[in-house]
Symmetry: C2
Subunit: 358 residues, 2 copies
């Protein structure tokens, strides 16, 4: 499970991006906790743009999940909802091909979660490696909010509510897929027949893009390049990137491992062969940081300029963006409602109870 | 908290039935896990009939809560929903005065629960004495379903969703009221102003009615007298009641403590002075079990006959009962929806998000 990128045994519930999935129902999305950055672009956004052509894709803006560890910062979450939607549209997500939906506007997700909570033990949630790691990361210790411990159940509700067959996740999120499939099988067992779709993880082929200082990119560290960065910001961030502190003179041999500029070039340079050649020259000595930074700056300026322009145009018309979220949410609710009906039937909530509902 | 009935210090969040509450908003109800019996009648049903005149009372049929420990027996739960509603109407609950509502038909309750889960820690739930006792009782040990651990949060959702100010509970349920009020105060703190009503417990003055064998009345033990019992069943159950095994001859002195017949006489005899006189005679010796059982049999036959008749009539027209539940549920949903709007506003789900909802 905790396989490293180099020696990775593919999980039975997972496929890789390079398998180019088609005709799948994909659920993906983001917690709206700030504007998206180049790390999101490299790791997921650009794949979503590619996947939307041949698959049925829903992008869920997971504001309820964001509240599980931002309960006192809900205004930030709210503000980010539009930001994230604008980022989606600016990078090329097309509302005619992808469904952009807002989690908190789909009550069926809460209803599914409450039902699913009866099918998972507390001990099983506490054993979930992803949850354990996230709890440790946030320093919750004994003060874990119940909603946070239960978020795999919320994710299972999201995944099953859209009948997703494929869920793009990082390696560290594989336990979430397993837990979802356990629930799917538990419900099939109780019903005596399959009710919900099992899902597979879609694992990225792109290594995680570091922040400009080489640490994990994060809003609070200010080490990411946002999709709305100005030309000056891009220039300054590229200029400040961590390279190899022992590569002092141009003639010195340099390290490309852990060198942030090369990580970004590998992610964004349209000419991978040239990047490999540059890496070789850098290793030998004779290639300066100024040269590779200039190259990266040009690439990122060219990448971000049209995104920034579309962002600016979209931000001028928030009503139109809201309308897109509304339409996507309506579409998403239809599917979620049909799944909820199926699940309620398993728990005999279909007869008296469903009759009582509009 | 764990006060005994004899040395009870009244809890600050509690009042006693004898205080005759008026103008309160009362939430009460039952888990539909079987037909109601005389224990329910003595402990709660007849008080509800009294309370409905001067208070705004909702009776919630808590089918979702029943699923937290009946997940594999959902058809039993479903079947009991109508049974419980029929019991309510048969004992004198009037739909014009009391709201009879079905929990699973009110999605707002699930939405509130999911939001509240972020405001309670796992440790706090694990410390709840009622939850601990119930977990031990069910023998869940490490396999506690997450939904079961979280049921105080579900109860808090129910109580606050109807803006209840008074909740009839047993002494052992006081921690649930406390946990609800903690949530109410937490939300007020986050909002900067009161949002939800705090509630008080309404403690019964009636001791818990035992089963006919002196043990706790329970469906599985078959030791309760149901509200639909036939004359023969009533007669047989009264005849089989535990009295005092050392009270062999009529002339022998007998014990009234732990004597089930006297427990029922104290609960149901319309002449309490006469019961006290009978107890005195029984203690002294000279009063036989046959005599007290005959008296109790007559009282219970008179009590149950009209309830049984109304039950039979109601059971013939389940559509009418369903319509009553439907109307009550609609009324309950209106209040729950207004509470949900208030709570969503606290979490900044009112602006973009609420706009997106119908």
């Amino acid at each position: 499970m905790e396989a490293t990128p180099t020696q990775r045994s593919i999980h039975p519930d997972a496929i890789r991006e390079s398998e180019l999935p088609v005709h799948e129902t994909i659920l993906t999305g983001d917690r709206p906790t700030g504007p998206l950055h180049l790390g999101h672009y490299a790791g997921s956004l650009r794949n979503r743009v590619r996947l939307q052509a041949e698959n049925d894709q829903t992008l869920l803006i997971a504001d309820l999940q964001a509240l599980t560890d931002h309960i006192g910062r809900s205004t930030d979450v709210r503000r980010s909802v539009l930001d994230v939607a604008i980022d989606y549209l600016a990078v090329g997500i097309e509302p005619a091909r992808s469904t952009v939906a807002l989690q908190s506007a789909i009550p069926e997700l809460s209803e599914l979660m409450v039902l699913y909570l009866n099918l998972v033990t507390v001990a099983r949630l506490e054993r979930n490696p992803t949850v354990r790691a996230e709890i440790a990361l946030r320093g919750f210790e004994r003060d874990v909010p119940a909603g946070f411990l239960c978020y795999p159940v919320s994710q299972a509700a999201d995944i099953t509510a859209f009948r997703a067959t494929l869920v793009p996740v990082g390696d560290d999120q594989l336990p979430m897929i397993e837990q979802t499939n356990e629930l799917v099988r538990r419900i099939a067992h109780l019903a005596g027949h399959p009710v919900l779709a099992e899902c597979r993880a879609l694992l990225s082929d792109t290594p995680r893009l570091p922040g400009i200082d080489g640490r994990k990119a994060s809003k609070s560290l200010g080490n990411a390049i946002s999709l709305s960065a100005s030309p000056d910001e891009i220039h300054a961030k590229v200029h400040g990137m961590f390279t190899d502190p022992r590569h002092v003179r141009v003639a010195d041999p340099g390290r490309v491992e852990g060198n942030v500029v090369f990580a970004y070039l590998r992610a964004f340079d349209p000419d991978p062969a040239e990047v490999r050649a540059l890496e070789a020259r850098y290793r030998e000595g004779g290639l300066g940081d100024v040269a590779i930074k200039r190259r990266l700056d040009e690439i990122l300026q060219a990448l971000i300029a049209p995104i920034r322009e579309r962002r600016t145009a979209l931000a001028r018309d928030p009503g139109a963006v809201t309308a897109i979220i509304r339409q996507g949410t309506d579409r998403a609710r239809e599917i979620a409602a049909s799944v909820l009906r199926d699940v309620r039937r398993v728990f005999s909530l279909d007869l008296v109870a469903t009759e009582l509902r509009d």
